[in-house]
């Protein structure tokens, strides 16, 4: 079951337009789906695929990351020798901080060279909400003799999230790749998961840096499309590109479709997260809940419709919650109401308060706010 592949979750300069939601946390630890953090999806996919060793290249605001992943126990990555490695930026001086990810790959090269049994690497980001079997991606990579295989998603309905677009020819090879600013007309986006041999990666890191180029995708992959065989592997399952508020809201609400709930959380494997030992959720005699995703530890005395409640949320008597997302330990006081809102962790809505955001612009309350 062990895959000869290393995992890297690269948080260096990850495109983040999440505003207040990432004021004090990195994109990887934005709460999502009632009980998860964004990074859980990629991390669990790697573990379920049989990847025995995963590094998280942390960059900024990583306190919440360290707290969340800990020693990797909850993902079964608390192992002898293998397991989870959280690697904060290794810098000689402060100016190194702004350098591109390739520079940091180079500083962390021991992680790659020390892992001798693993010949392949998958480099990914943390904000792609999906459930991927990397064993299949590696099979495809080897079968088609690719230099680099990029996990991609074809979709008629573009996500509001920021993503790279790619052009793929009839043979499944990527011929063009543009950052999200580009005007490339394509319905295929890169899921920012790149499978390649460790040898090629280290070669690309060194030769790119030697040329003064320090961006992995833009330089080491994008500028080499003519020289290397870069293939697309099309992911069939659900995908949410979550790096701005509109995408966050849209992809969260998509979880209220049972097909997507099943596909994302169970197929091909379960998504793991840090456990909290919350009791099961209590529905009081006056509870009225429909079309919602409710995590453990909630206490519901009021009405909740078309919403997502994270762990430990309390909805008091007479309160009404609609089209909203309430993160961990939020409280909606008696006879209060919420519509089209996103409440960060531990927000308290006082009794009789009414908050309403627009349908296309949810109201966002920052962590620990009392309203």
């Amino acid at each position: 079951m062990k895959l000869p592949m290393l995992g890297v979750i690269n948080l260096i300069h990850e495109a983040d337009e999440m505003g207040q939601l990432t004021a004090n946390r990195c994109l990887a630890t934005v709460p999502f789906g009632g009980r998860y953090r964004l990074i859980d999806f990629t991390l669990s996919s790697m573990v379920n695929s049989g990847i025995p060793k995963v590094a998280v290249f942390a960059h900024t605001k990583f306190r919440s990351l360290m707290d969340h992943v800990g020693t990797g126990t909850y993902w079964d990555l608390h192992r002898r020798g293998n397991g989870l490695f959280v690697l904060p930026p290794s810098m000689e001086d402060q100016t190194d901080f702004g350098k591109g990810d390739l520079y940091h790959f180079y500083r962390h090269r021991d992680y790659f060279t020390r892992s001798s049994p693993q010949e392949y690497v998958v480099i990914s980001r943390s904000h792609m909400v999906c459930n991927v079997d990397f064993a299949k991606v590696l099979d495809d990579h080897l079968e088609r003799g690719a230099d680099i295989t990029v996990v991609c998603k074809k979709s008629d309905e573009p996500s509001p999230g920021l993503a790279r677009k790619v052009l793929v020819n009839g043979a499944g090879r990527i011929t063009e790749m543009q950052d999200h600013y580009g005007r490339l007309n394509s319905d295929i986006i890169s899921m920012e998961m790149y499978v390649l041999s460790k040898e090629l990666l280290l070669d690309l890191v060194e030769t790119s840096l030697a040329r003064g180029q320090d961006h992995f995708v833009r330089h080491a992959v994008g500028s080499m499309l003519g020289h290397l065989k870069v293939n697309a592997y099309l992911h069939e399952g659900t995908l949410g590109v979550v790096n701005n508020i509109a995408a966050y809201y849209r992809h969260s609400m998509q979880l209220l479709q049972p097909d997507i709930w099943r596909d994302l959380f169970f197929n091909p494997g379960p998504i793991y997260t840090k456990i909290k030992d919350e009791p099961p959720t209590r529905y009081n005699s006056s509870a009225d809940v429909t079309h919602s995703l409710i995590a453990n530890g909630c206490d519901i005395e009021g009405a909740v419709h078309n919403s997502i409640l994270f762990r430990g949320v309390k909805v008091r008597k007479g309160a009404i919650v609609r089209n909203s997302i309430i993160m961990q330990n939020g409280v909606v006081g008696e006879n209060g109401s919420l519509e089209n809102c996103i409440l960060d962790k531990e927000v308290e809505i006082r009794p009789l308060q009414h908050l309403r955001g627009a349908e296309n612009l949810p109201f966002l309350a920052i962590k620990r706010k009392v309203i």
Binding site: R35, L256, E278, P280, Y283, T290, H291, L293
Partner: protein
């Protein structure tokens, strides 16, 4: 509590015969309770919250599920470099080995284990009981009275008193009489099966009890009455919270129902006394557009598309469209089919109630039970009818 001042011995070998199909492959302490827990979670969580970090868990019947569940004690914070949780099944010595003959014999056979930690006091508890209790307060009372043994007691209704070990105590809480399941009880103070012993006293009592061939080697029947006869310093310690011995299908069902009041007697959502358990790590529960849930507790990973009223749903329960679940307990991973009705019932782990099937009845005195992994389908029902 200072290290090894007190260690706990948790009796978890109960067969739970009266729970029928629910304990077919399961020791009683491993029976599911409260939407997420197994019964033993309560005592293990009590230990760690009370500062007792060395716990011997004595297992015997059907230990496989229980052993897997306990692991090295990590979920309860009992995986310690020293002490921590130890699973203690009966084992073979040079002169052979025997099954644990009774509760006292189980501890007797593990005198060697206890001596490795050389405690001043030993707490004897049972993995069959549901309650939240701070054993440190019991230890304080035990030390204050300079007792040889202190027995935790709870007031029970007089009508039920003959089902328990009943204690009569004087104004100083000293035990003057102890009767195991008396026909005519003189008191309504029932032993909770929670005993704090001074280790030298217990050690000697166990050795003497073992030498007595007529003894049934049981704490309630032998050790306590003998110590009382010998005028040892036996005291009672009153406990005022919720306590339940779930020995029967009826009481297991009732204990689950007790959680559903708007102000339940047993609070599971208690941040200062969290009940730890092995978390299933499933997604948040999904409540469909036409679902109705009231007066119920529902765990992670459930998908509810029907009506759920006054019921407990464990992790991963699927309640299909148009199903109705009332006054029932649905164990992990069970599936309730479209239009099926489950009323006053316990549906076992992984069981399937097929589309349109009916389990239990509102008029029934008895609680209907569907065994773990059983499948009930309309077709099977028809066949049964044909056979009749």
């Amino acid at each position: 509590m200072r290290r090894n001042e007190c260690i706990a011995m948790l009796l978890a070998g109960g067969e739970g015969r009266r729970l029928g199909v629910l304990t077919k492959d399961l020791a009683k302490p491993a029976v599911h309770f409260g939407g997420k827990y197994r019964i033993i979670d309560f005592t293990l969580s009590n230990c760690i919250h009370s500062g007792i970090e060395t716990v011997g868990v004595l297992t015997q019947y059907q230990p496989l599920v229980l052993n897997q569940y306990l692991g090295i004690g990590s979920p309860w914070g009992l995986d310690r470099r020293e002490g921590g949780m130890h699973v203690l099944p009966p084992y073979v010595r040079s002169k052979g080995g025997t099954w644990y003959k009774g509760t006292a014999n189980a501890i007797y056979q593990n005198i060697g284990f206890i001596e490795r930690y050389d405690p001043e006091h030993v707490l004897i508890i049972s993995g069959d009981h549901i309650y939240k209790m701070n054993y440190d307060l019991l230890l304080e009372a035990h030390k204050e009275k300079r007792a040889d043994a202190t027995i935790a007691v709870i007031t029970v209704p007089w009508a039920d008193a003959s089902r328990f070990g009943i204690l009569s105590v004087d104004e100083d809480s000293r035990v003057v009489e102890f009767a195991e399941k008396p026909k005519k009880p003189n008191s309504n103070l029932a032993s909770m099966g929670v005993y704090m012993f001074s280790w030298p006293v217990l050690r000697e009592a166990l050795i003497r009890d073992e030498a007595d061939k007529s003894s049934s080697n049981d704490f309630g029947k032998d050790i306590i009455p003998t110590l009382l006869k010998e005028q040892a310093r036996l005291f009672s310690y009153r406990f005022n919270g919720y306590w339940k011995d779930v020995g029967t299908i009826e009481s297991l069902w009732q204990a689950n129902m007790d959680l559903l009041d708007d102000e339940p007697a047993l609070h599971l959502d208690d941040r200062s006394w969290r009940i730890f358990s092995v978390n299933p790590n499933r997604p948040a529960q999904y409540v469909a557009p036409h679902a109705k849930i009231s007066s119920s507790i529902v765990n992670e990973g459930c998908l509810v598309d029907g009506e759920v009223n006054r019921s407990v749903l464990f992790q991963g329960v699927m309640a299909a469209e148009g199903s109705i679940i009332e006054d029932s307990v649905i164990m992990p991973g069970a599936a309730i089919g479209r239009g099926a009705r489950v009323i006053r019932a316990i549906v076992g782990e992984g069981a399937v109630v097929g589309d349109g099937c009916v389990v239990g009845s509102i008029d029934s005195e008895e609680i209907a039970v569907v065994g773990s992994g059983e499948t009930i389908s309309l077709k099977a029902e028809m066949q049964e009818v044909e056979q009749v």
